[in-house]
C-alpha cells in the first residue's frame, strides 16, 4: 500500500508500507487514516487508486493522539507511527502554509481608543449607537466595558424622539448627514424646553466636513463636541478583515463620491504600521489607484519604522472590475449560508427550522468552529458526505463509553467529553442548516436557476435564458433574483438588444412596481444593465471607451454621468483568461482542480483569476489585452523599503493581502483559499464589506423613500 503526500515543492512523496502489512490490516489502516485525518485535513482518497492514500500536506498529524485512544492493532499503530513520523519531517522541512499575523491586536487598538474617547466625557452618560455599528462593536467590546466607563443606558439610533433622563448624551455613529440632522433636532428641542445637557458625537471611522456643516447650520456647533473613533478594520476571521462599510459600494461606484478613499488608505496605513510593510503592490481600477495614492501620501506624511514585513504583496481591486462573480448564485457552503441566512459581521442567526426547536440562535461562523471550518470552502454537494461521516465518527466516539471501567470513564469525561459535546452541538447545527437550505433551494427550482446562470456564463442558448428570465419575472418570483439574472444577461452579452431591453424592463416594472424605473436608471449608470446602442459595433464602442480613458487630462466629458459606465467585454475576457472551462469535461467537485469549483466547475471568478495571473507574472506584463478590456487603470509598484534578497525565504513572502474595494463574496474568499493551498501561500482578504448578489443589488434599488 502506498501512502503519499505532496510537499510544497510539488514533488510527491511516497511512503510504502505494503511490505509491513497484511492485506486485511491494510484495510484497517486505510480506514483508520481516513477516519483520523478527516478531522485534521482532507486526505485525498482517489477512487481509481483504492490502495493509495493521498495525504494533504496541511494534514496535521492529529492521528497520533487518536491512535492511542482507539484500540488499533499494534501493527497498524506502528505503521501509523511511521507515516506520522515522516509527515512530521515533511512539516519541519517544508513549512506548510505560512502563519498569519495576529489581527486581534487591531481589536485591542480599537477598544482602547474607544475607552479613551468615552473617558473624555467623564460622568454618567447614555450612549446612542448606530444600528449598523452594534455588531462590529460587539466584536471588540461588551456591555461590561462600556458600563465601567460610566455608560448608563444604551440605545439604538432610530431617528425618532428619544426618552433619556441623562444629562450627558453620547452618540456613536457613522458620519451620515441624516443622523447628524437628527441629533441637531434633539439638541434644539432640548434648548426650546430649557433643558441643559452635554452632547458628544463620536464619528467612526472618521468625521466629514459635511456633517460638521450640518451642526453649524443648525446652530448647535459648539453645543455638541465631536470626536473620531478610528475603528477602520474589524477582523472577522483569521484571514478576513472588514471595514464594515457597505455604503462604500454605492457611494463610490454609483454616486461617484470619493469620501471613503481616504478611509481605505488609512486602513492600509494602519495595517502597515502595525504589521510591517510589503514588497510589491498591484492594483486595478480607478478607486484602487486613488486608494493607493492616498495611502502613499499618508505614509509619506507620517514617519515609518523599518521592520520585518508581514505581507509580501498587496493587491487592490475595484468591485466594478468584476461584477459577474458577485452576481452568481453561491454554492460553496459559507457562500450559500450567506445567500440564504445572511451572515452579519461573522455571525448568523439560525431560525427554528434549523435548530429544530422553537428558538433561534446566533452562531459565530469562523475558524473557531471546528465543523464549520472544514466545510466552509466545500462545494455544497460535498457537505452531506462529510457531515454524515462526521456523525458516524461521533457515534463511535460516544460508544466508547460502553464497557469502560471507572478509571477509564473518568479519563474520558476529563479529556474528551466536552470536546465531543461541542462537536455534537455544532454538527447538529450544520446538519440542520444544510437540511433547511436544501428545502429552500428545492422550493425555488434552484437547478433550473443554476442551469440558466451557467448558460449565460457560457454564452449558450441565450434565447432560452431570456425566456426563463421572462417567466421568472412574470411569476413575480424574487424581485432580486430577477434583477440579478437580468444584470448577468446584460454583462455577459455586452448589453441587451433594444427590443429585449424594452420588453424585459416593461415586464419587470409591471411585476415589481413602476418606481423601479429609478433602479433601472441606476443600473444603467453603473453599466450593470444596458441597452445596446443601435448600430454601434463593438469596435466603435471600444474606440470610444479607449478615448475616454486616454483623454484623461481633458476634464470635459460630454456625458459626465455616463463616463463611468463601461462595456464589460465579458465574453472576450472569459475566452482570454479561460474563465469558463471547456464543455464536455467531467468536473469532479470532490477533487477540485481549479478555482472554478466554487461555481460547480462552471466559472472561475474573474477577480481571483486576475489575482492569480498577476501574482504569477509578478505584474501586468503580457496582460495588456486583458487590461485594455477592463478599461485600464492597472498598476504595479515595487516597495522602496525592501532588501528583498534577505527576506525572500521568510513566511511573510508568502502572505498576500487582497483588498476588495466595494465588497467581496465568500465564494471569492474560498477561491483564494484554494489558490493559496495550491501555491503554498496565504491570502488575507481586506474588504470594505462582505457582499453577495442581494446586498449588491439592494444597494442600487431606489424603490422606496
Amino acid at each position: 500500500m502506498l501512502i503519499s503526500y505532496q510537499k510544497k515543492n510539488k514533488k510527491k512523496h511516497h511512503h510504502l508500507i505494503s511490505s509491513q502489512l497484511h492485506s486485511s490490516l491494510q484495510k484497517e489502516l486505510l480506514q483508520f487514516l481516513l477516519e483520523c485525518c478527516v478531522g485534521a485535513a482532507e486526505p485525498f482518497y482517489h477512487p481509481r487508486r483504492p490502495h493509495e492514500v493521498f495525504l494533504n500536506p496541511f494534514c496535521r498529524p492529529a492521528c497520533q493522539h487518536r491512535c492511542k485512544t482507539r484500540s488499533a492493532s499494534s501493527q497498524v499503530y506502528s505503521a501509523v507511527q511511521s507515516v506520522v513520523g515522516s509527515l512530521h519531517m515533511a512539516h519541519t522541512e517544508w513549512k506548510d502554509a505560512p502563519g498569519l499575523p495576529d489581527f486581534s491586536l487591531l481589536k485591542r487598538l480599537a477598544r482602547d481608543q474607544l475607552i479613551f474617547l468615552l473617558e473624555q466625557l467623564p460622568g454618567k452618560k447614555d450612549l446612542f449607537i448606530d444600528a449598523d455599528l452594534m455588531s462590529p462593536l460587539d466584536r471588540i467590546a461588551n456591555v461590561t466595558i462600556l458600563k465601567q466607563h460610566e455608560v448608563d443606558k444604551l440605545y439604538k439610533v432610530e431617528l425618532k424622539p428619544i426618552v433619556s433622563s441623562s444629562d450627558q448624551l453620547c452618540f456613536l455613529i457613522r458620519p451620515r448627514i441624516q443622523t447628524v440632522k437628527w441629533i441637531s433636532d434633539l439638541v434644539n428641542a432640548d434648548k426650546v424646553a430649557g433643558r441643559f445637557r452635554r452632547y458628544k458625537i463620536i464619528f467612526t471611522p472618521q468625521k466629514f466636513y459635511a456633517c460638521e456643516t450640518v451642526l453649524e447650520e443648525q446652530g448647535v456647533y459648539g453645543d455638541v463636541t465631536t470626536d473620531e473613533w478610528n475603528f477602520y478594520i474589524l477582523p472577522l476571521d483569521d484571514d478576513i478583515l472588514s471595514l464594515e462599510l457597505p455604503e462604500f459600494f454605492r457611494d463610490n461606484f454609483l454616486e461617484g463620491d470619493q469620501r471613503w478613499v481616504t478611509t481605505a488608505g488609512s486602513a492600509l496605513r494602519l495595517l502597515q504600521s502595525v504589521y510591517g510593510s510589503f514588497s510589491k503592490v498591484y492594483g486595478i481600477g480607478r478607486c484602487a489607484k486613488m486608494v493607493y495614492e492616498s495611502w502613499r501620501e499618508l505614509m509619506e506624511d507620517g514617519e515609518q519604522r523599518t521592520r520585518q514585513p508581514e505581507f509580501a504583496k498587496v493587491f487592490l481591486v475595484d468591485r466594478d472590475v468584476d461584477f459577474v462573480t458577485p452576481l452568481c448564485s453561491q454554492v460553496v457552503y459559507e457562500g450559500l449560508v450567506d445567500d440564504l441566512f445572511r451572515i452579519k459581521c461573522g455571525s448568523v442567526e439560525f431560525g427554528p427550522d434549523v435548530t429544530s426547536s422553537d428558538k433561534s440562535i446566533k452562531v459565530m461562523l469562523n475558524s473557531q468552529d471546528k465543523v464549520f471550518s472544514e466545510i466552509r470552502n466545500e462545494h455544497f454537494s460535498n457537505v452531506f458526505g462529510f457531515l454524515s461521516q462526521k456523525a458516524k465518527n461521533l457515534q463511535t466516539a460516544y460508544d466508547k463509553r460502553r464497557g469502560m471501567d471507572i478509571q477509564q470513564m473518568k479519563a474520558f469525561v476529563a479529556d474528551e467529553l466536552k470536546g465531543l459535546k461541542q462537536e455534537h452541538r455544532l454538527l447538529s447545527l450544520h446538519i440542520g442548516a444544510s437540511e433547511s437550505m436544501m428545502k429552500k433551494k428545492t422550493k425555488q427550482d434552484f437547478q433550473e436557476l443554476l442551469k440558466t446562470e451557467h448558460s449565460l456564463l457560457e454564452g449558450f442558448e441565450i434565447r432560452e435564458c431570456i425566456t426563463y428570465i421572462e417567466e421568472h419575472i412574470n411569476r413575480q418570483v424574487s424581485m432580486i433574483d430577477s434583477l440579478r439574472l437580468l444584470c448577468l444577461l446584460s454583462i455577459t452579452e455586452n448589453g441587451l438588444l433594444s427590443k429585449d431591453y424594452r420588453s424585459l424592463k416593461a415586464q419587470y416594472l409591471q411585476s415589481y412596481g413602476i418606481e423601479h424605473l429609478l433602479t433601472f436608471a441606476n443600473l444603467r449608470q453603473l453599466g450593470l444593465l444596458e441597452e445596446q446602442q443601435a448600430g454601434e459595433t463593438l469596435t466603435v464602442m471600444e474606440s470610444k471607451v479607449g478615448k475616454l480613458v486616454n483623454d484623461k487630462t481633458v476634464g470635459k466629458l460630454t456625458d459626465a454621468f455616463s463616463s463611468l459606465a463601461k462595456k464589460s467585454n465579458f465574453r472576450a475576457l472569459s475566452k482570454r483568461l479561460a474563465l469558463v472551462p471547456k464543455s464536455g469535461e467531467e468536473y469532479d467537485l470532490r477533487v477540485p482542480r481549479d478555482m472554478a469549483y466554487v461555481f460547480s466547475g462552471a466559472y472561475i471568478p474573474l477577480s481571483c483569476k486576475l489575482i492569480e495571473q498577476v501574482l504569477e507574472r509578478d505584474g501586468w506584463t503580457g496582460m495588456e489585452e486583458v487590461t485594455r478590456m477592463l478599461n485600464g487603470q492597472e498598476f504595479a509598484v515595487t516597495g522602496g523599503s525592501s532588501s528583498s534578497e534577505a527576506r525572500s525565504k521568510t513566511d511573510a513572502q508568502r502572505i498576500v493581502l487582497v483588498m476588495f474595494l466595494g465588497g467581496c463574496t465568500f465564494s471569492e474568499i474560498s477561491a483564494l483559499r484554494f489558490l493559496g493551498k495550491e501555491r503554498g501561500c496565504r491570502f488575507i482578504v481586506v474588504t470594505t464589506a462582505i457582499t453577495n448578489s442581494s446586498r449588491l443589488l439592494e444597494a442600487l434599488l431606489d424603490n422606496s423613500a
Binding site: D257, E435, N474, Q507, L509, G555
Partner: protein, 483 residues
C-alpha cells in the same frame, strides 16, 4: 417527490458539471437525514454545555485591562525611520481632473493674500483646541498663518483635520484652484467641504457653469445635495446641465415621499409633462393611471360585501401594488366583470397592454387559488373550426401543472394537465413528481418498460387500484415488453 427530472438528468449528464440535486428524496439528502437522526439520537446529558456555542451578545467576558493607552499606541505607530513610499510610475497618474485646461490654470501664479485678520471659514476657534493643540503657536510674525496658505497647503490641512481658512479664496480663480487641488488628492471629504464653501460664496449660475467641466466635483455636489435633501436646487442644477432625463427622474422620485394616495396621484399627474425618455414617459403614464384606478377600486372594495370578500377577506389594501398584483387581485375578486368596469381583469389587461402569456399566468394563479377548476379549464379551452374544444397554452403545460400543484390542485386536475405536456420526458417527470399514477403507468406501458413498472409497483400501496392496474398489465401476455 421522486428522483431528478429527466430533463435535468440529461443536462447534468451531458455537461461537465457533476450533478447535485436538491430533490429531497435524493440519496444524499436521505443520507443527511439519517445523519441527523443519528446525531439527534445520541444521548448526552443536556446540562452545562449551553455556552459551548459562542453567542453574540452584549454580556459576558470579564473585562480585560487596558494595556495601552491610546496615546501610547499612537506614538508607537508613528515612531521609526523615514522611508519614501513608492509611487505608481508605470502608468500615467490619474487625471487631475479639471486642472488641465481649466480657466484657473491660467492663473497659477500665487496671489498675495490680504493682510487682514481672518477667522476660519466654518469652524470656530474653540474646536481647534480640542484636536489640534499644537497649532496654538505664537502669532508674533504678524500675519495669520492659516489664511496665508496656498491651495495645496490648505487642502493638506483640511485632509488632516487641522485648522484652515477658506476666507482668502475670494477670486473665482482661487476658488477653482482650491477645488481642483481637492480633486487632485482624491479626498471626497475635502472636495465636498470646498463645494460647500463654493455653494455659499458663488452664485449658483457661476457654480453650475464651472461644475459642468468638472465631472468629479459635479458628482460630489449632486450627491451632497441629494443627502441634504435639497431637491429644488438639484433639479435646477440638472436642468442647467441639460440633463433633462435625470432631472425628470429626480423629480419623479419625490413621489416616494408622499404618503397620502390622493396627493401622490396628483403629483404623478404633474410628472406626466416632464421630459422623460419615450419609454419612461409611457411607464410614468401607467403609474399615474394605475394609482388612479387603484384608488377607485380600493374605495369601492373597502365597503364591498359580495360573497367573495366575506369568504376571503382582503389582507391588505391594493394601493401602490404593482400592475401584476393588481391584475391578480382583480382576477381573484372581480373575475368575470365586464370590460367596462375599472376593476375587471379584461380592463386592466387592456389598459396596461399585458401580454397573453402574462395574463394567463396571473389568472391561472388566482383562479387556482380559489380552486375554480372550471375557470382554469376555460382559460385554456379553444374551439377549432370544427367546433372541437382543445386546450392550448402560451406557457408550457409543465409550468401550468407546477402552478396548479403549488395551489394544491387535486390529482384528477393535475392528471389532466400532465397529460397535455408535449415533451414525453417532462410529462413522465411531472407525473412522477405529482404522483399521477395513471399517467406514469400508461407511459411505462407505452414504453414497454416492464422493469420500471415493477419498480413503480413497489412504491404503491398494495391492493390499491393503481397497484392492481400494474399487476394486470404485467400479467398481460399480449404486451411485448422490451425488458
Amino acid at each position: 417527490m421522486t428522483r431528478a427530472k429527466p430533463e435535468d438528468d440529461e443536462y447534468w449528464n451531458s455537461s461537465k458539471f457533476k450533478a447535485f440535486t436538491f430533490d429531497d428524496e435524493d440519496d444524499e439528502f436521505s443520507q443527511l437525514k439519517e445523519s441527523k437522526r443519528a446525531v439527534n439520537s445520541i444521548l448526552v446529558d443536556e446540562d452545562e454545555d449551553e455556552d459551548d456555542v459562542e453567542r453574540v451578545s452584549w454580556s459576558g467576558e470579564p473585562v480585560g485591562s487596558i494595556s495601552w493607552s491610546v496615546k501610547e499606541t499612537a506614538s508607537s505607530i508613528r515612531s521609526g525611520s523615514e522611508q519614501s513610499f513608492p509611487k505608481i510610475d508605470t502608468t500615467p497618474s490619474l487625471s487631475k481632473q479639471g486642472s488641465g485646461y481649466s480657466l484657473s490654470s491660467l492663473f497659477k501664479a500665487k496671489s498675495k493674500p490680504g493682510a487682514f485678520q481672518s477667522f476660519s471659514e466654518s469652524f470656530s476657534d474653540t474646536s481647534f483646541r480640542t484636536y489640534a493643540p499644537e497649532l496654538r503657536k505664537p502669532k508674533s510674525d504678524g500675519k495669520d498663518f492659516v489664511s496665508d496658505l496656498s491651495p495645496e497647503e490648505t487642502v493638506r490641512r483640511m485632509q488632516k483635520g487641522r485648522p484652515f481658512s477658506l476666507e482668502k479664496f475670494r477670486s473665482l480663480q482661487d476658488k477653482l484652484l482650491l477645488l481642483d487641488e481637492a480633486v487632485a488628492v482624491y479626498d471626497g471629504n475635502v472636495i465636498t467641504a470646498v463645494l460647500i464653501f463654493l455653494k455659499k460664496s458663488l452664485s449658483k449660475e457661476i457654480l453650475f457653469r464651472e461644475l459642468m467641466a468638472r465631472d468629479v466635483a459635479l458628482r460630489h455636489y449632486v450627491h451632497y445635495l441629494k443627502e441634504m435633501g435639497e431637491q429644488k436646487l438639484l433639479v435646477e442644477l440638472l436642468k442647467a446641465l441639460g440633463r433633462t432625463e435625470d432631472m425628470a427622474l429626480m423629480h419623479y422620485k419625490e413621489h416616494l415621499n408622499i404618503k397620502d394616495e390622493g396627493r401622490r396621484r396628483d403629483f404623478l399627474k404633474s410628472c406626466l409633462s416632464l421630459p422623460f425618455s419615450q419609454d419612461d414617459a409611457t411607464h410614468v403614464q401607467d403609474h399615474y393611471t394605475l394609482l388612479e384606478r387603484q384608488i377607485i377600486i380600493e374605495a369601492s372594495d373597502k365597503k364591498a360585501d359580495a360573497e367573495i370578500f366575506k369568504k376571503f377577506p382582503r389582507k391588505a389594501s391594493i394601493l401602490n401594488m404593482p400592475i401584476i398584483t393588481t391584475l391578480y387581485y382583480s382576477c381573484f375578486y372581480h373575475y368575470g366583470e365586464s370590460e367596462g368596469t375599472f376593476s375587471s381583469p379584461s380592463n386592466i389587461r387592456k389598459t396596461f397592454r399585458i401580454s397573453e402569456k402574462q395574463y394567463i399566468l396571473t389568472a391561472l394563479g388566482a383562479r387556482a387559488k380559489l380552486k375554480s377548476w372550471f375557470d382554469v379549464d376555460s382559460l385554456f379551452n379553444t374551439k377549432n373550426w370544427l367546433g372541437y374544444t382543445k386546450k392550448k397554452s402560451p406557457i408550457g403545460f409543465h409550468r401550468v401543472v407546477d402552478i396548479l400543484h403549488k395551489n394544491s390542485a387535486p390529482v384528477q386536475v393535475l392528471q389532466e394537465y400532465v397529460n397535455l405536456i408535449d415533451d414525453p420526458d417532462l410529462k413522465l417527470s411531472g407525473a412522477l413528481k405529482y404522483k399521477c399514477h395513471d399517467v406514469v403507468i400508461n407511459t411505462y406501458r407505452d414504453l414497454k418498460d416492464r422493469q420500471q413498472l415493477i419498480v413503480y409497483r413497489e412504491k404503491l400501496e398494495r391492493d390499491s387500484p393503481e397497484y392492481r392496474k400494474i399487476q394486470e398489465l404485467l400479467n398481460n401476455v399480449q404486451i411485448r415488453w422490451k425488458n
